[in-house]
Symmetry: C2
Subunit: 367 residues, 2 copies
């Protein structure tokens, strides 16, 4: 099996699809994306089928690819149904259904032997009674479907607050998660081919700001990495993953890892693998989806990532970013909008100390 | 000055243009190439103006870019004339005229203080007499213009051979170069912005096979690097370079460096910088041409490159390449043809010993 001449279809044409295409091209793989946004980032480096995700002609074109993958989990069921049996869609419908539904995801994580925060499903008014007590008195109410980057979430600490939060979310099905006193948030990705090869990405430490990922840091030889890989591998096997999946964890003070969220794809926290000297997460997803040989993807030296997010009235100090040693700019060609992810800067350094120093400088340059 | 939203034009749409575009996109830079080949590699990641290099409408589009660069030196004069005064073309006509003419290039290298092999210009029959004696009795006859990858070259060691070689080249203007007993061939690139900032690429050691580059190797702290940078910097200043230029050197047993050839652009020997963790040569050219801040671009660890060249009846062991640690595949999406450069594999390793071991394996996998 060689990558040369293969054709990959992607549902979605945002920055993840753009970076998947940038990673696929050097493998000899052509990319076609189906994406309704005329100005989608991936249009610059892929054939862009400019149509709704459910467009019959667009889906016919994707059906002619060697495999189809996706850059977001909320793919319409009609699109998956239209491709069913005509082209491998990886990950497939079962795994995607799980990703779209927080409660089911948590239940199936536990079934696979992974730990999660305590949680209660809130679907009816009656579910509100005793819900907070069951998860430790304080929690975060999250809509079961369609939440991302802190949207559709509210922190609650008493019964009235819980009721008000549920009302404000339109009383849709929700999950109330217990608040975890974690030491840090980390993530790893796992890739698995249809024939059962698995490989792993590096353990990365993440810092969020206002519900959106702000920085990720990779340092070689993290003591939690082996355990995170073990959990990720177990879930990938149990869920019969085809493709790449990212697990976000809360690390408790004792070192224990609770799975917080799962994304059935490359993830913002893995962007730093693009410039670490090893294979990047985007290439790993392309390989896994096309059934090509896999190997663990690990940066060869310390590296970090800082997201560039639109902030009213402030722009990054671009010259400062360019002048800082070890920076790699990644812009997505998206129109500026407050709160929008517009790009990221990867940072590499020969050792931890210089990485920390440069990262502190970089954070002052990007508002 | 920020790269975000800039538009770069490229004359030529081959693999160098493809890799320039792949490096430009993450900077927020859009790319348009003018290229008559419908199946040009760059079509996959740039807007492709599918027309001759002298096409008026195509050149009008390029004239609307922020700057225009090129991936080959033999750009038709008409194209340069049409762009003159409308958009910065970098490098500009003077430097390109020099690159297209071996004898003038060598004379101007010497004028800039760089050393070259001894040479004699052969333009008339009379120039053949005494030519071999003047350069040490043995030499290589090269056409003054349009030669590359060993084409338009012949090794000669006596008067009859010289005459026959010149006849076979159609008696076009040639340069007879003295044969150099060199210890190794190395190269470096230098970038210079219009406002005079300069920066340098790593010193790379090159091995040719059948006149075509086969492997390049970078090891940190090469003792000749400082000297190579000094020469490259001197030439870049003297020639008022705008853009990026690669110098190939013969290193004599005493350590002295003679300039063999100059390419006014990124070069096959610099491909290994793509996966070295530092900035790559393609990004360096984009930055220099657009007048963005520069910094030396250096891999952070040992790395190497092996070209994939079409060989009748043999294909690379793709699975073996994928399975070897530290490999990064770069295919150009070109149709197979014997002797054609179809792609390359970059190789990274934590230390010199493992680089050498992996490189030896990689060479057996790529015929």
């Amino acid at each position: 099996m060689t990558s040369d001449g293969l054709h990959l279809g992607i549902l979605g044409g945002g920055q993840l699809a753009q970076m998947l295409a940038l990673a696929a091209l050097p493998l000899g793989v052509r990319v076609t994306v189906l994406e309704p946004d005329a100005l989608a980032p991936a249009r610059l480096c892929a054939t862009h089928l400019h149509a709704p995700y459910t467009d019959a002609a667009g889906l016919d074109t994707l059906a002619g690819c060697d495999a189809v993958t996706l850059e977001f989990e909320n793919v319409p069921v009609e699109a998956l149904d239209a491709l069913q049996g005509r082209v491998p869609v990886r990950p497939g419908g079962t795994l995607l259904q799980r990703s779209k539904h927080r409660a089911r995801e948590k239940e199936e994580l536990r079934a696979a032997g992974a730990q999660t925060a305590p949680f209660v499903v809130v679907e009816t008014e009656a579910d509100l009674d005793g819900a907070l007590a069951a998860i430790g008195g304080q929690g975060i109410l999250k809509t079961s479907e369609l939440g991302y980057d802190g949207k559709g979430q509210a922190r609650v600490s008493d019964g009235d607050g819980l009721r008000a939060a549920w009302d404000s979310m339109g009383r849709v099905p929700c999950v109330l998660e217990g608040l975890i006193a974690f030491e840090r948030e980390v993530s790893v990705a796992v890739a698995r081919t249809p024939d059962g090869q698995t490989a792993f990405g590096p353990l990365v430490e993440n810092v969020h700001k206002g519900g959106i990922l702000r920085t990720s840091v990779f340092l070689p030889d993290d003591p939690q990495e082996a355990r995170a890989h073990e959990i990720a591998g177990r879930v990938a096997q149990a869920w019969v993953l085809e493709g790449l999946m990212t697990l976000e964890f809360f690390q408790l003070p004792g070192g224990e890892l609770l799975v917080n969220e799962v994304a059935p794809r490359v993830h913002n926290s893995g962007h730093l693998t693009q410039d670490g000297g090893g294979v990047g997460q985007f290439e790993a997803q392309v390989r896994a989806v096309l059934g090509l040989p896999l190997a663990d993807w690990q940066p060869l030296h310390p590296c970090a990532m800082v997201n560039i997010i639109g902030v009213e009235g402030r722009t990054p100090d671009w010259a400062g970013v360019d002048a800082l040693p070890g920076t790699h700019l990644h812009l997505y060609h998206k129109a500026w909008r407050a709160g929008r992810k517009l790009g990221h800067v990867n940072l590499v350094a020969p050792d931890e100390r210089s990485l920390r120093e440069r990262l502190a400088q970089l954070e002052t340059l990007i508002p």
